[in-house]
């Protein structure tokens, strides 16, 4: 399995580099970045000064290498809006967003695994159809709309949960639901399909022939084999959740990376914006790598080759 990991690692590094190039070039989209930073209506001397300070007058590849070097050393530049170094700012918020992401993932799995197993065991019955209907409905609801609905019900009407902020655990309940529910249908379908396939396998018949109770057959023997693709998907979905947190965090004013991203984009805080994109992409690459490794490890045929 070692060789497999090394190969995936090499690929991950290549992708991370490619992504860093894109993040770097993102800034150049608006035209002259010096003007963008100096602001509208700035005098040409100011623009020149900005250009020199940030090194925009050097050739592009040189700028890239310099920027990459500084970034790898942890120097993300300074936030134009907050006027503090960008790196500590970004990493401080990362914790909140990771927590939200993991909670949402856990919520999605807690919702989808039981439903997926039920749908598979009672395949083609009304239970199955109900689960699939829920899945389709879940995927049709826009997450920002659902978030607003949650606020209406739980904050305004019932007064159980706070609307915004990030101080207590109650502040995380609605964001977790609003972010996580969208991922549940995909998991549910995957589990259902996997279970249906696995339940037809010979070793399930063997397990039943040994007199194992139905619950043991389903959860120990079947689910263990059906869950393998779910682990791979979970790692990937975590990446999506982290990216999609922008909308949810902004609605709930949850003080995480997504909210910071929104602020940096609205206030044209380029160093912060650029580095958030880079950071999330690298996290994503790492998660994909982790998912590949987990996939291999879960299959004894690869692990103990």
């Amino acid at each position: 399995m070692g060789g497999y990991i090394l190969k995936r690692l090499g690929l991950a590094i290549a992708v991370a580099l490619a992504v860093s190039m894109i993040a770097f070039l993102l800034l150049r989209l608006s035209g002259d970045p010096a003007i963008a930073i100096a602001g509208e209506g700035a005098r040409s001397e100011d623009i020149e000064m900005v250009r020199k300070t940030y090194g925009f007058d050097r050739p592009l590849p040189v700028q890239y290498v310099e920027w990459l070097g500084k970034t790898l050393r942890g120097d993300f530049g300074e936030s134009i809006y907050f006027k503090t170094p960008a790196a500590p700012l970004i990493f401080a918020k990362l914790e909140t967003t990771m927590a939200l992401g993991l909670l949402s993932l856990a919520f999605a799995l807690a919702l989808s695994i039981p439903l997926g197993v039920l749908a598979a065991v009672y395949r083609n019955s009304w239970i199955d159809r109900l689960c699939l209907a829920l899945a389709v409905l879940g995927q049709a609801l826009p997450n920002f709309f659902f978030a607003l609905l949650l606020i209406m019900v739980f904050s305004i009407t019932l007064r159980w949960l706070p609307v915004s902020g990030s101080d207590t655990w109650q502040h995380f309940v609605m964001p977790t639901i609003a972010l996580g529910y969208y991922a549940a249908p995909a998991f549910m379908r995957l589990i259902r399909a996997g279970m249906i396939e696995v339940l037809e396998a010979d070793y399930i018949r063997t397990a039943r022939a040994k007199g194992l109770p139905a619950s043991r057959v389903i959860f120990k023997h079947a689910l263990r084999n059906a869950v393998v693709p779910v682990v791979a998907l979970a790692a990937v979905q975590l990446g999506f959740l982290l990216g999609g947190s922008v909308v949810i965090e902004t609605i709930f004013a949850l003080d995480g990376l997504g909210y910071l991203a929104y602020q940096s984009i609205t206030f044209k805080d380029f160093p912060v914006m650029q580095n958030i994109v880079l950071l999330l992409s690298v996290i994503y690459v790492v998660l994909t790598l982790a998912s590949d490794v987990a996939n291999a490890w879960l299959d004894p045929r690869i692990r103990v080759a």
């Binding site: 396998a201 010979d202 070793y203 018949r205 063997t206 397990a207 039943r208 022939a209 040994k210 007199g211 194992l212 109770p213 043991r216 023997h221 263990r224 084999n225 879960l298 299959d299 004894p300 045929r301 103990v304």
Partner: protein, 332 residues
């Protein structure tokens, strides 16, 4: 075929009478098993022989209550060691499976769960049915792996199925079936999927284990060679019915049913069959088993068929030898 009352019928390990299985299909019920009866006693091997699709596997699944959802089982009597399996609650059936009655299947390559070690899967049923510590279960597993002829058993326990060859996996399956000391072992074509040399080993192993442990064994096969090697009694199945049943010697010496005759004549015997001569065949195909079936199922392929075969194929017997045919004595 109603079971002939043998002197020790009351002690029969497995008592099957009037077993029928119908499978729901879009074009009507498929009568996969029709009024099958037999008994198996301690230390006895009953071989159920027949071609693919004759219903022999479904019979074994019906006994184990492992039928697919679309199948319906009916029987006059289905008893294991005198206990009625038909009326038994699902929990009771689970308590008996893997414990008092065990089954091994045809495909050893896919019969084991790839995600767990051999040891885990071996000890599982023992821990479930017998309780006790994992140490005791491990001891038992090692003992049985030794019995089935697997060397360095302790190491094997830690291995995963994919690390074993087909023959080894089948031995593990046999060991797994014997973990709780069952009185009945059903083996559905246990050697078919294996290499020819391994086949003989597995069959030898099963015969030895039976002698050693005194279990009742039902062995399902399509291969008459297997039957000749290992069976005490034989039941020949065709189109869902048992068409002939008797001891192995009687059956091979004087087969009464045209189908059995046809099967035996298909086997080339070295020395007796002339080189370049024609092998026996049975012309025709198995009839459709959907809907109502009347009379003898073999009549379309039988060289000795009469008009009366369309309505009945009466049960004949001669001592412990039974068969279904309009003829008492077949013309040569």
């Amino acid at each position: 075929m109603s079971a002939v009352l043998k002197p020790d019928a009351a002690d029969a390990v497995l008592d099957v009478e009037g077993l029928s299985v119908d499978i729901a299909t879009p074009s009507g019920p498929l009568r996969a098993v029709r009024d099958v009866s037999f008994q198996v006693g301690r230390g006895e091997t009953l071989c159920i022989v027949g071609e693919s699709g004759c219903g022999k596997s479904i019979t074994s699944l019906a006994i184990m209550s492992l039928l697919p959802v679309a199948a319906r089982r009916r029987a006059t009597r289905l008893a294991l060691l005198g206990e009625d399996l038909l009326a038994a609650a699902p929990r009771r059936v689970n308590a008996l499976r893997g414990n008092r009655m065990a089954m091994i299947f045809q495909e050893p390559m896919t019969a084991l769960n790839p995600a767990y070690t051999i040891g885990n899967q071996l000890m599982e049923s023992y821990l479930l049915h017998r309780g006790g510590s994992t140490d005791k279960a491990r001891e038992r597993a090692i003992e049985l792996l030794g019995k089935v002829g697997i060397a360095s058993a302790a190491e094997r326990l830690r291995q995963y199925p994919h690390q074993l060859s087909g023959g080894l996996r089948q031995r593990v399956m046999i060991a797994m079936a014997l973990m709780c000391g069952p009185e009945l072992l059903i083996a559905d074509e246990p050697s078919t999927a294996l290499d020819v040399t391994i086949q003989a080993q597995i069959l030898r192993l099963l015969a030895d284990l039976q002698k050693d442990l005194g279990i009742a064994m039902v062995l399902i096969t399509h291969d008459l060679g297997v039957v000749a090697r290992i069976a005490h009694r034989v039941a020949v199945m065709y189109a869902g019915e048992i068409v002939e049943e008797g001891t192995a010697e009687r059956l091979f010496a004087s087969p009464r049913h045209p189908y059995t005759r046809g099967l035996i004549s298909c086997i080339p015997v070295p020395g007796r069959t002339k080189r370049g001569g024609r092998l026996g065949t049975i012309a025709g195909v198995v009839p459709s088993l959907v809907g109502e079936i009347r009379g003898c199922g073999f009549r379309d392929r039988c060289a000795h068929a009469l008009a009366a075969c369309e309505s009945a194929a009466p049960l004949r017997s001669s001592g412990e030898h039974q068969w279904r045919c309009i003829h008492v004595e077949l013309p040569e």
